[in-house]
């Protein structure tokens, strides 16, 4: 047990928890004023919902004793046996319960990311049911495959430092699937749907950046050089992507505030899988490439009139797919001796493993989400009524309004 590591991981837990309210603000600023509380709640609720699910069985499905490389057993259900002692598989220098708590924060924010796809029209009851099913059927198994002891992708040697696959690709492609099932907002493409408060979004992006230090540097699970490197790569990628996005926006007119904030978040999502395996200079390349990839994906989505409303797919799915592949290019054991070398350091095999993990995550999360969403749509319906949508979800779903 190492008290320095434990102290850092306690702080990291708090930092990653902060990302969920930060995401709520990030999304909340981009919707119309009649749907602000609804959008905030779609994110906030996960601190409560997954806070309970993870303790009851989520952690155990992800990190319990391996069953066939596919899922964890129920031996850690109710945090049974998740105690204050180190665990040989997951946390050699910190309490097992602290590792489980840190992982809980990841499980909380991941489904919150998806909510950007269906804001301003989702039925709250169907959303709650979907979220619980998604956490159980998509997040927990995927988390086991990539990070759980005995998980099949982990055994193949996939490198995903802080959740490029488990968190961002899964959320991005699930968002795409859900948006296809629920359909566009009423009047989408005809009336402009202006963000009601870009200041809220900028504040959210700033707090996300702060929290991301816990997310990525905390994923070292120790207060050591790998953590510091992860913090630096995280910062570098966000900074570079923010700058590049500013240029792209400028080329199309003016350097947009919303665009710069978005670019920063894209840089953060892109570097997440790579952060503990690559150098800060490589992170600059990752951020610089992620920005145009996401930018033009957004333009493409918009042209196709697909209302994946807040671009979870473009920002998280696409950026982190690139980041996970780039990990297979730039990873070096000089940064992290527990990692592996990538293509540029003489290990072409790694790029194949990374590509496989990306493809598997895309397909698995997209298909399961599509099926679950379709079933819910057929049975209880995913959308609010047309009148409720017109009035706005703040009043029609929650009986409150943001600004009196």
């Amino acid at each position: 047990m190492n008290s320095g590591d434990t102290a850092w991981m306690l702080v990291s837990c708090a930092l990653v928890l902060l990302m969920t309210p930060a995401l709520a603000l990030f999304y909340g600023g981009m919707v119309r004023r009649k749907n602000v509380l609804s959008t905030l709640t779609l994110s906030y609720i996960f601190m409560a919902l997954i806070g309970v699910q993870w303790l009851l069985y989520g952690y155990s499905l992800a990190f319990g004793t391996d069953i066939g490389g596919l899922i964890g057993g129920l031996n850690f259900a109710g945090f049974n046996g998740v105690d204050a002692l180190p665990n040989d598989d997951y946390s050699k220098t910190i309490p097992h319960s602290l590792f489980a708590a840190f992982q809980m924060m990841f499980a909380v924010i991941t489904p919150a990311l998806i909510t950007g796809a269906f804001v301003e029209r989702v039925n709250f009851k169907s959303f709650l049911l979907f979220s619980l099913l998604w956490a159980t059927l998509v997040y927990d198994p995927l988390c086991h495959w990539v990070w759980g002891q005995g998980g099949w992708l982990k055994q193949l040697g996939v490198l995903d430092f802080a959740g490029g696959t488990v968190v961002h690709i899964a959320a991005g492609f699930s968002a795409l699937a859900f948006a296809l099932v629920i359909g566009p907002r009423k009047g989408y493409g005809k009336a402009p749907m202006e963000p009601h408060s870009i200041p809220l979004t900028v504040l959210g992006a700033g707090l996300l950046w702060v929290g991301w230090f816990g997310f990525n540097a905390g994923s070292a699970l120790a207060a050591n050089g790998v953590a510091v490197n992860a913090l630096l790569t995280t910062n570098t990628s966000a900074a570079t992507a923010g700058l590049v996005w500013m240029m792209l926006s400028w080329l199309d007119g003016r350097p947009s505030t919303l665009g710069i904030a978005t670019g920063m978040v894209v840089g953060l999502a892109a570097v997440t899988p790579a952060s503990g395996f690559v150098t800060p200079l490589a992170a600059m390349v990752i951020g610089a490439v992620a920005a145009p990839l996401s930018y033009y994906t957004m333009r493409f989505r918009d042209r196709r009139k697909l209302d994946e409303s807040l671009d979870v797919w473009a920002c998280h799915g696409i950026a982190s797919s690139w980041g996970t592949i780039a990990t297979g290019l730039f990873a070096t054991v000089a940064v992290n001796s527990d990692g592996a070398n990538g293509l540029f350091f003489g290990n072409p095999k790694q790029i194949g493993i990374q590509l496989l993990a990306v493809a598997v995550t895309m397909i698995f999360s997209f298909v399961v989400t599509y099926v679950v969403a379709k079933l819910l749509d057929w049975s209880i319906g995913l959308r609010v009524t047309a009148i409720e949508e017109e009035v706005g979800l703040d009043i029609s779903s929650h009986g409150e309004r943001s600004y009196s």
């Binding site: 202006e194 007119g253 003016r254 919303l258 665009g259 930018y295 033009y296 957004m298 473009a314």
Partner: protein, 141 residues
């Protein structure tokens, strides 16, 4: 020009001027100068011939056709109407599309809630346009 003063029989009018947001202070000051004391303003959105503007979004730009404008409402006696209209025009005009419009409506009756005054008496203020031009004085000061 000879102005006839009909006392309590003067017609009341409502002027509704749609102007640019950035002209609101110029118009207010110009009206103050000629003695138009009482007015209300509203923040509104709309468009006429000017159309809209393009704003920059997350990736690329989009068109917004409802632009913020200011609506100024004034209730006054008919004999003050033309001078007020010309004052607003002069202060609000830039010569570009989007300067706005002025509408004039007849007003049935005006009642000041505190005193119960009606008609022209209810729209007179100390130091207003009528007092300045010697056409009467607000009873209440």
């Amino acid at each position: 020009m000879l102005i006839f003063y009909f006392g309590d029989f003067a017609m009341l009018k409502k002027i509704e001027a749609i102007i640019r947001e950035d002209k609101v202070n110029d118009v207010k000051d110009a009206l103050m100068d000629i003695g138009i004391v009482g007015l209300n303003i509203f923040e509104i959105r709309g468009h006429g011939r000017q159309g809209g503007i393009r704003l920059v979004g997350r990736a690329g730009t989009y068109q917004v056709d409802m632009l913020p404008k200011i609506q100024v409402n004034i209730i006054l006696s008919e004999h003050n109407m033309e001078e007020t209209i010309q004052t607003i025009r002069k202060a609000a005009c830039t010569g570009e599309p989007g300067d706005g419009l002025i509408f004039v409506y007849p007003v049935e009756e005006v009642i000041r809630i505190r005193t119960g005054e009606r008609g022209q008496d209810a729209v007179m203020y100390p130091g207003d346009i009528d007092e300045k031009r010697g056409r009467g004085k607000a009873k209440d000061s």
